[in-house]
Symmetry: C2
Amino acid sequence: MDQKEKKISKAIIQRLPRYYRYLGELMSIGVDRISSGDFSKLMGVTASQIRQDLNNFGGFGQQGYGYNVGNLYEEIGKILGIDRVHNIIVIGAGNFGKALAGYSDFEKRGFRIKALFDQDSEKVGKVYSGIETLPMERLKDYIKENNIEIAALTVPKDAAIELAVILKDTGIKGIWNFAHTDLEVPDSIVVENVHLSESIMRLSYNMKSRSEEA
Amino acid sequence: MDQKEKKISKAIIQRLPRYYRYLGELMSIGVDRISSGDFSKLMGVTASQIRQDLNNFGGFGQQGYGYNVGNLYEEIGKILGIDRVHNIIVIGAGNFGKALAGYSDFEKRGFRIKALFDQDSEKVGKVYSGIETLPMERLKDYIKENNIEIAALTVPKDAAIELAVILKDTGIKGIWNFAHTDLEVPDSIVVENVHLSESIMRLSYNMKSRSEEA
């Protein structure tokens, strides 16, 4: 990859998965080519914004042709790093953990949940959506033996902070953090936060602003 | 509110709930005052960025004093519209719905989940974390009779699209959308999306970029 890629803005990384989703939907209904104007309308983003975004990665449209849906889908998949399988574990076999285990959309995108982990001996051994719950004692070995790249943390805040320390030396590359806290990790680990409390506060803020405008 | 508030950028609205969370944590350990430098270090955001953000709403720090933690917490709460109770329903009593029902953090912030709804007659009548599951036939009346402002949708994509149409005329002010699709709603309704597939693709992208930098 060239230098350019390193400067890709956060906003583009917000938009790429959405492009990918819409392209997947177009494919599923048999659309194999779309004009840049139609794609722009569908996405609710200007055609020039789309062009600019894609130009960061080399550009994919052809003047007078538009976009080849399958091609673009595949290329964006490569950019996102989802052109191969990522092995995942979910730590915390509560409702959120079970929900992730049962979410077939992830598997479709190459994210394969291999095991759940929980410290509760009542839960250990239980199978949710075909995925077994293992004891925490097996965590480190399991990660190494099964080439696990991502750990999803669906545990309380304090447990997540402890786990971030434990995961440091396991070779884990990414933490998908559902706990309501920020995590300190070495540079070799990427954290993606899903902070639901912050999400609902944004909703509340936007509802308040909307009603004041009206 | 003055004109200024209308131009508040999306980035600030991303940061405010995080300020709020940290201020809450400071309060819980008995810190009632913090210098702007210490607050900046804690947040990992420059002091001038924090000042700028807060200035959008009138500004709250005092030269040479820093921030009064309780005050700022309360003021940001007001800005976010969480200085009062919001009644919520969750549509879809699957694992995600049950997880939301059991998430006590929301209640603490004034988001009160009043009921679950599901079309599956097996689930109707079941109580999860103290919250009853009601049949879809009662949805519209329940919203009106119980002053429900927010509907969380933890249902498949097609059901979410149908629900967005049904919710249009119920007086609902906000949709918290967990379905893997964008929703079309009238201006009177705000949608906050939690698109987990997009979140994990961002994680994948960032892992890929990080490994290429190394």
